[in-house]
Structure formats: C-alpha cells, structure tokens
C-alpha cells in the first residue's frame, strides 16, 4: 500500500525548524557584533552555512547519486538526486539573496564577478536547467538517465568556472573557519557558526527526506494509475 506522510506532521522537520529558530535567536541577540563589519557580519551565519551545504552536500549528493544511478539503475537514487537538486536550489537561492546584502554594505556593491559568486550563480543556473530537463521528459527511465548525465557533467563544470574566474579576478574572503590554522574568530562567534551549520544541515536532511517522500508518492501513484487504468 502507498504510505503517505505530510511534511506538516514530520517530527524531523519540526525539530529542524526549532533549531533554526534557536540559531536565529542566538545569532541576533546573544552573539557579539563584529567591530569592523558591524551587524552585517552576522549575515555569514546564514549565508556561509547555506552555501557550504548547497555546494558540498546538495551538489555533491546530486553528482554522486547521478553516477550511481547510471551504474545501478535504482529508481531510489534518481529520487535522491532529484530531491537533492531541488532542496539544493532553495539553499543556493538563499545564498544568492543574502550574499548581495552583505556585499552591498561591506564591498559597496550588490554583485561582483568574483570566482565564488560566479560559480554559485552558475550552480544555480545548472540546477534550474536540471529541474527543467526533468520536467521536459515524459518517460521515467529516460528522464532519470538524461538528468543523471547532466548531474554528472555539472560536477567538473563548477570547478572549471571557479578556476577561470579566479584567473580573471577574485575578491571573496577566504573561508575563515575551515582554514588549516586555528579559526580567527572569537569563540562566541565560532559557537554560533557551528550551531548554525548543524541547524541548517538538519534542515537540509529534513527537507530532503520530505521531498524524497513526495517523489516516492508521485511515482507510486503513477504506477498505480498505470496499473488500474
């Protein structure tokens, strides 16, 4: 029988939303304001964490599941790839919306054609193209194969774009937390940053699971309708 669950009653998603709310309270009210950048520095707690998850979790998951799909031909992998793409698009959209707000006050410009910005923008375009491609193919097996091919080819493309723009020029600050030496941030900020990362990671997992269930339900319904006319 087809199992149906509503994201509205999903306990994991509820916990994730509460965690994000707690991070918001901590970041906005209980984390010191950075002296040189001012309050806008706190945008990083949302922006950088979402960016990390979009690029290194969602996008990598999309590429890996695409590759495994072509090998194993398991529909579950296709559904994970589809879900990772869509949830990744939401995270990338947040990155592209919050980034310019930080850039406007710190750099004095909403947008610059810096390596990271350009690569993120094209990541967004690629995921949109991926989802459009899925929407444009009727037959399920073909849809999975085509989108897997795109999901795999996108993986080497993003580093290429990053590299070519890097050669062109770059402005973006280097990652502060993940560099080899000790993070150059006061410990209160580090705690907020790590808490924020965990909360957004939890949100990603919860959204991915909710989206995956919708894909399963949709495919099961399609099978059902096919079988019973």
């Amino acid at each position: 029988m087809i199992r149906s669950v509503s994201p509205a009653r999903d306990p994991l998603l509820g916990v994730a939303v509460l965690a994000i709310a707690a991070v918001y309270v901590r970041a906005l009210a209980f984390t010191p304001i950075e002296a040189r950048q001012g309050a806008a520095q706190k945008i990083m707690y949302v922006h950088a964490t979402s960016a990390f998850i979009a690029l290194y979790v969602a996008f990598v998951l999309l590429a890996v599941c695409s590759l495994l799909y072509l090998w194993l031909k398991d529909e579950k992998l296709d559904r994970v790839a589809e879900s990772a793409a869509e949830v990744g698009l939401v995270f990338t959209t947040v990155v592209l919306v919050t980034g310019p707000l930080w850039g406007k006050t710190i750099w004095g410009a909403w947008w610059t054609w810096d390596a990271r910005l350009t690569a993120t923008l094209f990541l967004w375009f690629l995921i949109v193209a991926y989802l459009l491609l899925r929407g444009a193919v009727e037959e399920r097996g073909r849809r999975a194969r085509y989108s897997a091919v795109l999901g795999i080819l996108a993986a080497p493309l993003v580093p290429f774009i990053h590299l070519s723009v890097y050669l062109f020029r770059t402005l973006h600050p280097m990652p502060i937390l993940l560099k080899p030496s000790a993070p150059s941030m006061p410990s209160e900020m580090v705690v907020t940053f790590v808490a924020s990362f965990l909360a957004f990671a939890l949100l990603f997992i919860a959204l991915l699971r909710a989206r995956y269930r919708i894909a399963t339900l949709r495919d099961a319904l399609a099978d059902h309708e096919e079988a019973h006319g």
């Binding site: 094209f122 444009a136 073909r142 091919v149 080819l153 080497p156 290429f160 070519s164």
Partner: protein, 236 residues
C-alpha cells in the same frame, strides 16, 4: 551514393565507424547547405549588430572584438548543434543508426566530428569578418588565434553534441539546448575571449598561455566525460 555507404564485410572499428557517421551527416549538410548558410548569415548579422551597440569612442575595437567573436560563435554553434540530432528525428532515422553494427561511442564521435566541421566552417568566415569589420591589425597572431579557435570549437562541440542528443527527445527542445549548453560554454568563452584579447592587443603569447591551458584541460575532461556519458542518452 548507395555503394559509397555499402557495409563493409566486417563491422568497422570505432574510429572508422565514427568517420562513416560524420561523412553521412556532412553529405546531408552539403546537399542542403541550408543550416550552414543560415548559421553563417546569423553569425555575420550578429557581428554587425554588435557594431551598432558599440560606442567606439569609449571602448577600443581590440577590447570589444574578442567578446563579440566568441559570443557570436557560441550562438551560431548552437544553431548547428540543434540540427545535429534533429535531423535524425524524421522517419525515426536514428533507429537505423542504432541498428548499425557500430559502437555507441562511434555515433557520438561521428556526430561530434560533423559538428566540428560545421562550427569550424563558421569560424573560418567569422574570424576574418570580425578582423575586417573592427579594423584589427592582425598579422602573425592569426596562427595562434586559429589554435585557440580549434580548442574552443572542440570543447563546444563535445558538450553540445551530447546535449543535442538529449534535447531533441524532450518537449521544448529549442529552448532546452541553450539552457543546458550555455553554462558549459562559460569557461570556453572566457578562456577563448581572454586569450584572443591578449593576442589582438599585441601582448606576448606567454600571457595567453594560462587561458590556453584551461581550454586544453576543458577539452580533455569533457571530450572524455561526454563520450562515456553518450551511450546513456540512447534508448536501450
């Protein structure tokens, strides 16, 4: 015609088969010539339209020309790529191709080879047109420019041929091919435009070298990846 494409006694190797597929496509193209002429006229029109969107007192011709050349090349190339697998749709001609005793990779390489001839033909006319229309002093650099053009064309065709095979089997094929391809053309356009800008400005060739390396790496990575991925775009 019939005997020229008569099947040999044993199935051809991958490269020989690719050559047969490419020859078939080029023969069709040579008979009609419509797609090539249309893409060519489109490229030349693009070059002239850019000219009128240009304030020659503010931007030097040598600064503008590389961008014009590679943007136009990309769009004209898309016109050719659209037709690459579109021509197989009529009468399900692709079934004949799939039924042939050749490797699937050979179909891809053959199609890509035909497309390479197509876009190279466009470049052979468009580059002199840009040099003429924008009054560029181009002498010895023309050989280096031809090398850049060749590398850029290989990268464009490698990715574009694969996406053309996918896009024809979707709704909204004409829109989807540019949507899929253009992000992949970004490193090509950037590297080709930057390296040819160095050459057109009379800078030493060594300054263009980092960009050429990117083009070269791009070609190696994407020709390999697309050749391996192509069989998955065909119906079993």
């Amino acid at each position: 015609m019939a005997e020229r494409f008569a099947p040999p006694s044993s199935p051809p190797g991958t490269l020989a088969a690719a050559w047969i597929v490419a020859r078939k496509d080029l023969a069709i193209e040579f008979r009609t010539r419509t797609a090539f002429l249309a893409a060519l006229v489109f490229a030349l029109l693009g070059v002239t339209i850019f000219f009128f969107a240009w304030d020659s007192t503010a931007v030097a011709a040598a600064d503008l020309a590389p961008g014009v050349l590679w943007v136009i090349f990309t769009f004209a190339g898309l016109l050719g790529l659209q037709r690459s697998f579109g021509s197989e749709l009529g009468d399900r001609a692709v079934d004949g191709l799939l039924g042939a005793p050749i490797a699937r990779e050979a179909i891809y390489l053959g199609k890509a080879l035909a497309n390479l001839v197509f876009v190279s033909g466009i470049l052979v006319v468009t580059i002199p047109a840009v040099v003429l229309f924008y009054n560029l002093p181009l002498g010895r650099e023309i050989a280096a420019l031809a090398g850049i053009a060749g590398l850029a064309a290989i990268g464009l065709v490698a990715v574009g041929t694969l996406f053309s095979a996918m896009a024809v089997n979707t709704r909204m094929a004409e829109l989807l091919l540019p949507m899929l391809s253009l992000p992949f053309f970004v490193p090509i356009v950037m590297a080709a435009a930057q390296s040819s800008a160095r050459l057109m400005a009379g800078r030493p060739a060594a300054e263009a070298w980092p960009w050429l390396r990117i083009l070269l790496a791009y070609d190696v990575v994407f020709v390999t990846a697309c050749t391996l991925a192509f069989p998955y775009t065909l119906d079993e």
